[in-house]
């Protein structure tokens, strides 16, 4: 983290470690003339967008409402609102990345006010980052990280083959699985009993190892 000296003393850049993006700078410049309710609504919209809970059309509808609510909708005022919203989203994105365990709330608040954000707005952002909804926000953020396809559905069938053209008495059970994954593909395959036992053992040992990993020192450090 980059520390810099200022008239208020040495402080750490917690939120923006490298440099402050231009849309956030514009947001800060215009924030004095911005009304508190509008800022709160923008935060709500930004959160919905980042978590993926609001669809494209819903976002656009709320933006339209925001633009029309503040006095007359001239081209300049609409543009201003849009830039402010972009600033809010960037600010939220950077703020949510901050690890709440290592960064203290007062340091965070001090950093925001040092960038130039008014006190009330800074405390609003603080409430979002350190608030009670944080666990849910984290879960949703984790689900949007780059990932391999995930299993969405599993259908199965156990069959016993009585006889075949090769052997008149087979009487061996076979498991048929249909696996559907998040990228839309569906795989149907047969699992002979020996492989099924291997699969079951693999899954159980993976679960056991995950539990051990959670308790290990590496996880405690993070």
């Amino acid at each position: 983290m980059i520390s810099c000296a200022s008239p208020r003393g040495v402080h750490e850049n917690v939120v923006f470690t490298a440099s402050v993006p231009c849309e956030v700078k514009t947001l800060i410049k215009t924030s004095h003339s911005m009304d508190k309710l509008t800022f709160r609504r923008m935060i709500k919209l930004g959160l919905g967008f980042l978590q993926g809970s609001l669809g494209q059309e819903e976002c656009e509808a709320v933006m339209k409402q925001l633009c029309e609510s503040s006095h007359t909708a001239t081209e300049e005022s609409v543009l201003n609102t849009c830039i402010q919203y972009a600033g809010v989203v960037s600010l939220l994105r950077a703020a949510l990345r901050v690890n709440t365990l290592t960064a203290r709330q007062d340091v965070f608040l001090a950093d925001l006010t040092n960038i130039g954000l008014p006190e009330e707005f800074a405390s609003d952002v603080c409430k979002v980052v350190y608030g009670s909804a944080r666990l849910d926000i984290d879960k949703q953020l984790i689900s949007t990280t780059p990932a391999l396809p995930v299993m969405t559905n599993l259908n199965w069938r156990v069959e016993v083959t009585i006889s075949s053209s090769w052997l008149s008495r087979v009487l061996d059970p076979v498991v048929t699985l249909r696996l559907e994954t998040s990228n839309g593909s569906s795989h149907t395959f047969q699992v002979p009993v020996s492989r099924f036992h291997q699969l079951r053992f693999t899954v159980a040992s993976l679960l056991h190892q995950m539990e051990a990993l959670k308790l290990s020192p590496i996880c405690k450090k993070l």
């Binding site: 949510l96 990345r97 008495r169 899954v203 993976l206 679960l207 993070l222």
Partner: protein, 199 residues
């Protein structure tokens, strides 16, 4: 067990005519092929060599090999005991000493052949092997410093085995976090309880 057709009669006459040691070798070769699951016993070259050593034409050699193969396959189909096989072969017209060779070979190889045939299915994708990796996600563009264990499971699916060789292998890689892995485990436990109920 054996349906006596004209072709089979011809094959049997070849068997009766062939030298006993050569018959032993032939039977061993056919049994080995069935044990490993491929239906092609001899390659072209080997068939030529066999023809010349027996003094037969290619046609006749093929028929001979096919007859021996057919006898063993029928024995497996009916899952007959060696003694019963011996009786059927005598009734079909094979000489006593050759019948003994057949029953001996069947006694040693029956179990392996039957086990191999039991695993054959009409071609559908089969799970051949499972590979896995355990990862710990520590940071991402959305969240700095997290600890989130993730498992990658790779399923090797083999589709269609003709003549003992797999036609196509597909590798499906799926990602699981802890909750999803528990869900999968739940499914597998249900299947296992069904399998146990069958016993």
């Amino acid at each position: 067990m054996l349906q006596i057709t004209k072709k089979l009669q011809e094959g049997i006459s070849f068997i009766n005519a062939i030298d006993i040691n050569k018959l032993n070798g032939l039977l061993g070769r056919v049994s080995a092929a069935l044990c490993s699951g491929c239906s092609q016993v001899f390659t072209e070259e080997e068939e030529e060599k066999l023809s010349s050593s027996l003094g037969h034409t290619m046609e006749q050699t093929r028929q001979l090999v096919h007859t021996v193969l057919h006898i063993i396959q029928q024995a497996a189909q009916g899952m007959v005991r060696p003694a019963v096989l011996g009786e059927h072969l005598l009734a079909a017209g094979i000489t006593q000493d050759r019948v003994e060779i057949f029953t001996e070979s069947w006694m040693t190889n029956a179990k392996t052949i039957v086990d191999k045939l039991r695993q054959q299915t009409l071609s559908e994708k089969q799970l051949e092997d499972i590979a896995w990796e355990l990862h710990l996600e520590t940071a991402s563009s959305c969240l700095a410093r997290q600890s989130h264990p993730i498992a990658h499971l790779q399923l090797n699916l083999v589709s269609g085995t003709t003549a003992g060789k797999p036609e196509a292998t597909e590798k499906v890689v799926i990602q699981f976090d802890q909750d999803q892995l528990y869900q999968l485990y739940g499914h597998l436990e249900q299947i296992q309880s069904q399998l146990d109920a069958l016993r």
